[in-house]
C-alpha cells in the first residue's frame, strides 16, 4: 500500500499511467475535431471563399484540461485511493476478542460487528487464532480457532439488555488458560466487574481496548407523584447541554399502540441527571405501557411502566342522597376519603359508569338496581370486575336476596338485620374476630376500638362458611365474598359510613380495601411481599429497546424478582420486561430509579482505540463519479465547439446529458399556496358571485358570462357593486368566500366527492345560497323527464337541503328589490315554478299585512330550470350573448330575468330585511306614541 498524506492507494502501480497524460495532451492537441458533412444548397455562394485562418482549428486548452482531469481522475480512481487507511495491528499468538455486549452497545452494534469482522480478517491474514465472547453471554469454555471459523459465530452475536454480572464474569475469567492477547470492545460504561476482568486479561497478555466516546443515555423508571409522572434520565459522559425527547407510548382506545404524549428532557451543560414531567388525564395515564427516548436504539432508552403508574378507577354509587348537607353521614364520604389518594373515582349512573370500564364498582347501601342495569353490572363482574357492596338501612329494609340468592349478592340476607349494643337492644357492640388464614385479610391486626353496632345478617346456607372472609367475635359474618365468572362480589354487612360501626374510622378499613385490591400499593414490592410468589414474564425487552411479548420463558421466583428489582440488575434468566403475578404486574427495568451512569476509565498502560477517528473512506467512487461528470461536461463542450449544439437539438442534448448526471429537481411546493391566496383575496376583497364549474366548457362560459351580466346590472341599478365572477371547483376551492353559487346542471356532471359534500353542506348551513339551474325549462316540476333533472336529484340527494316548495306568491324573493308578483321568474325559458325552502306550516297572513312573514333567513337553495345565466349572459363588448324570445316580448322576458337576478342577489345579501318590513306599521305607530 502506497501512502500519500492521508490517502493511500491499494494498487499504486496504476498511477504510472499518469505519466502518459502529457503524451495524450500532445495527441489530442494535434488532431483537429472531425468535420461535419452538411448538405447545403447555399454552397454555390460559398465557392471561392477561403478561411481567414489557414491553421487547423485546435481543441481549446480548457477542453484539453477537462479531458486530462477526467482521465487523471479515472486513473487515480482505479488505483484504489483510501482516505484514512486503517493501520494494521501487529501481534502474534491467539487473540481473544471480547465485547461487553450490553444495552449500551446496541446503538452501534452493526458497526461493532463490522469492526470485529475486520479484526478477524486481519488476524487470519496474520495467522493468528481467535476467539470471540461477549461478557453478557459467556461461553462455558474458550477455544481459539482461525478467523473464518470464529466469524461464523458473528451473525448470531447480539448484545444483551443487561450488564455483565460480576460473579459470573469472575468465575469465567478464572477458567481462562494460556497466553493470548485481548482486544476488548468496551461499551463505554463503568461496570462493577471491569477492573477485575481487566486484571485477569492482563495476566494472559496485552490488552487493547476499543471504546468510542459517545454519550449513553438511560431512562430511569417513571415515578408517579401528585398527579404527575416524573421521568428522569441519566447520561454519561457528561457533555454539553442536550435535549432528548421522551415519548409515552401506550394503546389507544382502538387497541393500537401509539405515542400518547411527548416531553423533552433538557440536560444543562454539566448535568448528569435531568427529568421531565408528564401531566396526563387518568384515562391516558393508565394506558401508558412504556416511555422511550425517541431515536435511541437501546434497552436503557426504554423504561416500562407497571401497575405502580396505574391508578385504579373506582366507581362509587350511593342510593339517592336525600339528606343534603350531612357530609359525614353520606354513605360514600369515608370511601372517597379512603380511596381518593390512591385511585381515580367515578360518579354517575350504572350505565355511565360501566362505559368507563372501572376496575371496581362500590355500591353503598344500594338495594334497587334496574333490571337492565343489573344485567349489565353482572356482565361486567363476570368479565373480571370487582363489585363491593355495603349494607345499610335500605338494604336491610328491602327484599334484596331475601328468598333467592341475588346474583349480585354473595349471600342471602335475613329480614331486618340486627342491632346490638344500642339503646333499644340487648348486649354490647361486637368486635371483629381475628382474620382466618384463608381470608384475604389474613395478617391484618384488628384494632381494639372497632365496634359493630348494627349489621345485616346472612341467611345460613351450605355455602356460607366458605364465603365468609371476616366475621365478628360471635361468629356472625361481617364480610362475605363470592366469585362470579372471572370477577367477584364482596359484601360488607355494615354501612360504608360510621353509622353502623366504627370500622370506617379505623385504619383497618383502608387496609381491608387495599387487600381487596380496591386500591393499589404504590410502593415497590419488597422481598417479603413477593416471597413465595411466582411471576411470569409477559413482555421482555431486548438490547435494542424492542419490547416483544413472550410466552416461552419460565416463571421466576418472587424473591429473586424482588432482589433484581432492588438492585436493578436484570440477568439472562430474568431479562428486563413486564412480569405478571396474580393480581398485578411488575416492570423490571434496565436501570434503577436512583442509578447513575459512569464512563469506563482505563489505566494509562492500556491502548484505547476510538471508533470515529479512523473511518476508512474509499475515494474510488468519488473519483470515478467526478470523471463521469467531467466527461458529461466534455460532451456538451465538444458539441458546442463543433457547432452541433444549436436550436432544438441543443435543448435535447442538454436535457439528455443532464438527465444522465442529475436527478430532477422537486416541484415548487409554494405555487399552490400562492394561487389559493390569490383566489381568497380576489373573492373577499369585493362581493363576488360564483358559479360551479361543470366541466362542460360551453356551460361554464355561459355561466360566467351570465354572472358577469347580472353583476353589471347590479352595479348599474343597485348599491351592490360586485367584482368579476369566479368559477369555482367544489372539489378544491374554498366556498365560504362566496355569498351565492350558481350551479348549472349538466347531464354528465360528475357527482362531488364526500369531502366536497361536507364542505357544501357546511356552506349551506352557514348561510350560503345555491341556485340550481337545470337549464331545461322543465324540471321545476321535479319530473325525472330530463337527464339534467335526474342528475340534479342525484347531486342534491346528499346535500343538507331543508324541505322545499314551489315559491309562494308572497315570498320575500318577489319583493327584495323589484316587485315580481305576477311575472314569474323567467330566464332564457319561461318555465314553471321555481322551488325554494318551504314556508313553515303555521305561517299565517297577519291582519292588514300584504304578505305573510315566512322563513326567517335566506332560503339555502333555489331550484329551477329557466337557464337564467343564458338570459343574463353578456359578451365582452357588452351586448347580450344569447337571444331570448322574440321581439319586444323577448326583451321584456330578459328584463324580468335580470330583475329576478337582482332580487335574488338582494335576497342573498340582505336576508329577511324586506320580510321584516311587515313590522314597519307597528314600529311607526310605536314611534308616534
Amino acid at each position: 500500500m502506497f501512502t500519500l498524506g492521508p490517502i493511500a492507494f491499494t494498487t499504486p502501480w496504476l498511477l504510472v499511467a499518469l505519466a502518459a497524460l502529457p503524451i495524450l495532451w500532445l495527441i489530442l492537441r494535434a488532431v483537429p475535431p472531425a468535420p461535419i458533412r452538411r448538405r447545403f444548397p447555399g454552397v454555390a455562394l460559398l465557392l471561392g471563399l477561403t478561411d481567414e485562418t489557414t491553421q487547423s482549428d485546435r481543441t481549446p486548452w480548457w477542453l484539453l484540461l477537462l479531458r486530462m482531469l477526467a482521465v487523471a481522475a479515472i486513473i487515480a480512481g482505479f488505483a484504489g485511493p483510501l482516505m484514512n487507511p486503517q493501520t494494521t495491528r501487529d501481534g502474534t499468538g491467539p487473540l481473544l476478542i471480547v465485547a461487553d455486549g450490553t444495552w449500551a452497545d446496541a446503538r452501534d452494534w452493526d458497526a461493532r460487528r463490522d469492526h470485529i469482522a475486520d479484526l478477524l480478517g486481519e488476524a487470519q491474514r496474520a495467522g493468528r487464532s481467535t476467539a470471540l465472547v461477549t461478557l453478557t453471554n459467556l461461553p462455558p469454555d474458550v477455544t481459539f480457532q482461525t478467523g473464518d471459523v470464529t466469524a461464523l459465530a458473528l451473525p448470531g452475536l447480539e448484545p444483551a439488555p443487561f450488564r455483565p454480572a460480576p460473579e459470573t464474569v469472575a468465575e469465567w475469567t478464572a477458567t481462562l488458560e494460556g497466553p493470548f492477547d485481548t482486544y476488548w470492545l468496551s461499551d463505554g460504561l463503568d461496570h462493577a466487574s471491569r477492573a477485575d476482568t481487566l486484571a485477569a486479561f492482563e495476566a494472559h497478555g496485552t490488552v487493547t481496548v476499543f471504546q468510542s466516546p459517545r454519550q449513553a443515555i438511560a431512562l430511569r423508571p417513571p415515578v408517579f407523584a401528585d398527579g404527575e409522572i416524573t421521568v428522569s434520565a441519566a447520561r454519561t459522559p457528561i457533555g454539553p447541554g442536550r435535549e432528548v425527547e421522551v415519548a409515552a407510548i401506550g394503546l389507544d382506545p382502538a387497541g393500537i399502540e401509539r405515542q400518547l404524549a411527548t416531553a423533552t428532557i433538557t440536560f444543562e451543560p454539566g448535568d448528569e441527571v435531568s427529568e421531565t414531567t408528564f401531566a396526563l388525564p387518568p384515562e391516558l395515564r393508565n394506558r401508558i405501557t412504556r416511555f422511550e427516548v425517541a431515536g435511541l436504539r437501546s434497552a436503557a432508552a426504554v423504561t416500562l411502566a407497571d401497575d405502580a403508574l396505574k391508578r385504579r378507577e373506582i366507581a362509587l354509587l350511593a342510593a339517592g342522597n336525600a339528606r343534603e348537607g350531612l357530609q359525614l353521614l353520606s354513605p360514600t364520604h369515608y370511601l372517597s376519603e379512603a380511596l381518593a389518594p390512591t385511585a381515580d373515582l367515578i360518579d354517575g349512573t350504572v350505565t355511565d359508569i360501566l362505559l368507563a370500564n372501572p376496575d371496581v364498582v362500590i355500591l353503598a347501601d344500594v338495594a334497587q338496581i334496574a333490571s337492565g342495569e343489573a344485567e349489565a353490572l353482572q356482565q361486567w363482574v363476570e368479565g373480571g370486575g370487582l363489585l363491593v357492596r355495603f349494607a345499610g338501612p335500605r338494604v336491610a329494609a328491602s327484599d334484596l336476596g331475601r328468598v333467592d340468592e341475588d346474583p349480585l349478592m354473595p349471600v342471602r340476607l335475613r329480614a331486618g338485620g340486627r342491632s346490638v349494643g344500642g339503646a333499644m337492644s340487648w348486649g354490647e357492640p361486637k368486635a371483629l374476630a381475628p382474620f382466618e388464614e384463608t381470608s384475604p385479610f389474613y395478617g391484618l391486626t384488628v384494632p381494639e376500638d372497632v365496634e359493630i353496632t348494627a349489621q345485616v345478617m346472612a341467611q345460613p346456607d351450605p355455602t356460607l362458611a366458605e364465603r365468609v372472609i371476616a366475621q365478628l367475635t360471635d361468629g356472625t359474618p361481617l364480610v362475605t365474598r363470592k366469585s362470579l365468572g372471572e370477577g367477584q362480589i364482596v359484601l360488607f354487612h355494615v354501612t360504608a359510613n360510621a353509622e353502623w360501626s366504627t370500622l370506617p374510622l379505623s385504619g383497618l378499613y383502608v387496609q381491608m380495601l387495599e387487600r381487596l385490591a380496591v386500591s393499589t400499593r404504590p410502593v415497590a414490592p419488597t422481598v417479603e411481599d413477593l416471597e413465595g410468589t411466582s411471576w411470569t414474564p409477559e413482555d421482555v425487552l431486548d438490547a435494542y429497546g424492542r419490547l416483544s411479548p413472550t410466552d416461552t420463558m419460565p416463571g421466576v421466583d418472587g424473591a429473586a424478582l424482588a432482589e433484581a428489582l432492588a438492585a436493578a440488575q436484570p440477568t439472562a434468566e430474568m431479562p428486563p420486561g413486564l412480569y405478571a403475578g396474580e393480581d398485578r404486574r411488575i416492570a423490571l427495568n434496565v436501570i434503577g430509579p436512583e442509578e447513575t451512569l459512569a464512563p469506563a476509565t482505563w489505566p494509562a498502560r492500556i491502548t484505547v482505540e476510538g471508533m470515529a477517528t479512523s473511518q476508512e473512506l474509499d475515494l474510488k467512487g468519488w473519483l470515478l463519479g467526478g470523471a463521469l461528470a467531467l466527461l458529461l461536461i466534455d460532451i456538451i463542450a465538444s458539441l458546442a465547439l463543433s457547432g452541433r449544439l444549436r436550436g432544438s437539438r441543443a435543448a435535447t442534448t442538454l436535457i439528455s446529458v443532464l438527465a444522465l448526471g442529475l436527478a430532477t429537481l422537486p416541484d415548487d411546493a409554494f405555487a399552490q399556496d400562492e394561487t389559493d391566496d390569490r383566489l381568497a383575496i380576489a373573492a373577499t376583497s369585493d362581493v363576488v358571485l360564483a358559479h360551479v364549474l361543470t366541466g362542460d366548457p360551453r356551460v361554464d362560459e355561459v355561466a360566467e358570462a351570465g354572472l358577469l351580466g347580472i353583476s353589471q346590472v347590479l352595479f348599474r341599478r343597485t348599491s351592490i357593486e360586485p367584482a368579476r365572477p369566479i368559477g369555482i371547483d367544489v372539489e378544491q376551492d374554498e366556498l365560504s368566500f362566496f355569498p351565492f353559487l350558481y350551479w348549472p346542471i349538466t347531464a354528465d356532471q360528475p357527482t362531488p366527492s364526500a369531502d366536497a359534500y361536507a364542505r357544501l353542506n357546511r356552506y349551506l348551513r352557514s348561510g350560503g345560497m345555491i341556485l340550481f339551474d337545470t337549464r331545461d325549462a322543465d324540471t321545476a316540476g321535479f319530473g325525472v323527464s330530463t337527464p339534467e333533472g335526474r342528475r340534479l336529484q342525484q347531486i342534491a340527494a346528499p346535500l343538507d337541503i331543508p324541505p322545499i316548495a314551489p315559491i309562494p306568491q308572497d315570498h320575500v324573493l318577489t319583493r327584495t328589490f323589484y316587485l315580481l308578483q305576477d311575472t314569474g321568474f323567467p330566464g332564457r325559458w319561461n318555465g314553471r315554478d321555481i322551488w325554494v325552502e318551504a314556508a313553515p306550516v303555521d305561517a299565517e297572513l297577519a291582519e292588514g299585512m300584504p304578505f305573510r312573514n315566512l322563513n326567517d333567513g335566506v332560503t339555502p337553495v333555489v331550484i329551477g330550470g329557466n337557464d337564467w345565466a343564458a338570459a343574463w349572459a353578456v359578451n365582452p363588448n357588452g351586448t347580450f350573448m344569447l337571444p331570448v324570445g322574440r321581439g319586444s316580448a323577448g326583451e321584456r322576458q330578459r328584463e324580468i330575468a335580470l330583475r329576478f337576478g337582482v332580487n335574488l342577489i338582494m335576497h342573498v345579501l340582505t336576508g329577511n330585511y324586506k320580510s321584516d318590513q311587515v313590522h314597519v306599521p307597528a314600529l311607526l305607530e310605536r314611534l308616534g306614541q
Binding site: 475535431p33 452538411r38 447545403f40 444548397p41 454552397v43 460559398l46 485562418t53 463543433s642 457547432g643
Partner: protein, 285 residues
C-alpha cells in the same frame, strides 16, 4: 416527392379562403373596370355593362330597342369585354429545392404556392400552364399541372425558360435562385422582350438566411456535385450573407428593369403570405 393528389388537396385548401383572382391584360384595363367586384367567368361580351347613347358608328342591329323605346334617344347596350389571360408558371424542381432545415422543404412550399395560384387563376377564368404544358382552363389542367409539378429534377440548380411563353402573357417564376443568375437573367430579358410580365418568388429556407453553422464543416450541394470545406464555418457567415444579399439585390434590380415583381419567401412563414404576395403581384397592371 409528394403525390399529385396530396399536392392538389393542399393547394385547394390554401386557395380556398381567397377570392378569385382576375389577372387581366394590360390593354383590357383601358375599357374594363376590374376589381374585386368582378366574378365574371362567361365568355366574350356575355354580361351587360352599360347603356350608352348610340353614336354614328354603331350599327343599327346593336341598338337596344327595348331601352330606346322608353325615351326619345336611341341606346346601345355595351357588354363587358373579357379576355382570359394566360399565366405560365415555372417552378424550380431541382435538387437544391429539396433542402430543408426543419420540416417543410422549399420545393414543397414552392409547389403548393404555384398550384394555389393556378387554382385561383383558374377560378378567375384565366388560363394557366407550365413549361411544356400550354395554358388551358379547367380543373383537368390543374390536375395535369399537379402531376407535372410533383416530379423532381436531378440537376443541382434549375433555370427558367422563356421560350414557350406567349407574348403579352403573364409568368410566375418560383425558385431559390441559388444557381447561375445569368441564365435567369437571360430568360427574364427574353420574356420582357415579348412583353411578358410577371413575378419572381424566391423561396428560401431559414437556414439559408441565417447560416447557423460553426466548426469544421464540409458543405455539399444537394446532389453532391459541389463541395466546399471550411475549418471555421462561423467565419464564413458574414461573407455568405453578403453574397446572398448581393444576389437578392441583383434579382431586385433585374425585376425592376423588366417590370417584374420580386420578393423572398421563407419556408418557416405561413404559405398564405406568399400567396397573397403572388395575388397582388399578378393583379398589378
Amino acid at each position: 416527392m409528394s403525390s399529385p393528389l396530396i399536392l392538389r388537396t393542399e393547394s385547394e385548401a390554401l386557395a380556398a379562403p381567397l377570392p378569385a383572382l382576375l389577372a387581366e391584360a394590360e390593354h383590357l384595363a383601358a375599357t374594363v373596370v376590374v376589381g374585386d367586384h368582378g366574378r365574371r367567368r362567361a365568355g366574350l361580351g356575355d354580361t351587360f355593362w352599360q347603356y350608352r347613347p348610340a353614336a354614328n358608328h354603331d350599327e343599327m342591329r346593336s341598338i337596344d330597342w327595348r331601352r330606346s323605346a322608353r325615351s326619345d334617344e336611341t341606346f346601345v347596350q355595351d357588354k363587358e369585354w373579357q379576355i382570359a389571360q394566360s399565366v405560365t408558371m415555372w417552378v424550380d424542381g431541382s435538387a437544391a429545392m429539396s433542402f430543408t432545415s426543419h420540416t417543410e422543404s422549399k420545393a414543397h412550399r414552392a409547389r403548393v404556392l404555384a398550384l394555389a395560384t393556378a387554382i385561383l387563376l383558374n377560378r378567375g377564368g384565366e388560363r394557366v400552364g407550365l413549361p411544356g404544358l400550354p395554358p388551358k382552363r379547367g380543373t383537368a389542367q390543374i390536375a395535369q399541372m399537379a402531376g407535372r409539378l410533383s416530379t423532381d429534377d436531378n440537376a443541382d440548380y434549375g433555370h427558367p425558360d422563356a421560350a414557350e411563353m406567349a407574348p403579352h402573357s403573364r409568368a410566375l417564376f418560383v425558385s431559390d435562385f441559388m444557381g447561375d443568375l445569368s441564365k435567369t437573367e437571360a430568360a427574364l430579358t427574353a420574356a420582357a422582350d415579348r412583353s411578358v410580365r410577371g413575378a419572381l418568388l424566391q423561396v428560401l429556407d431559414p437556414a439559408e438566411e441565417t447560416f447557423p453553422f460553426d466548426g469544421r464543416t464540409i458543405f455539399e450541394s444537394m446532389s453532391g456535385t459541389l463541395r466546399h470545406e471550411t475549418l471555421k464555418a462561423g467565419d464564413l457567415r458574414e461573407r455568405y450573407l453578403a453574397r446572398l444579399a448581393e444576389r437578392k439585390d441583383r434579382l431586385t434590380a433585374l425585376a425592376r428593369m423588366t417590370g417584374w415583381q420580386f420578393t423572398t419567401h421563407h419556408t418557416d412563414t405561413a404559405a398564405t403570405t406568399g400567396l397573397m404576395w403572388i395575388y397582388h403581384a399578378l393583379a398589378r397592371r
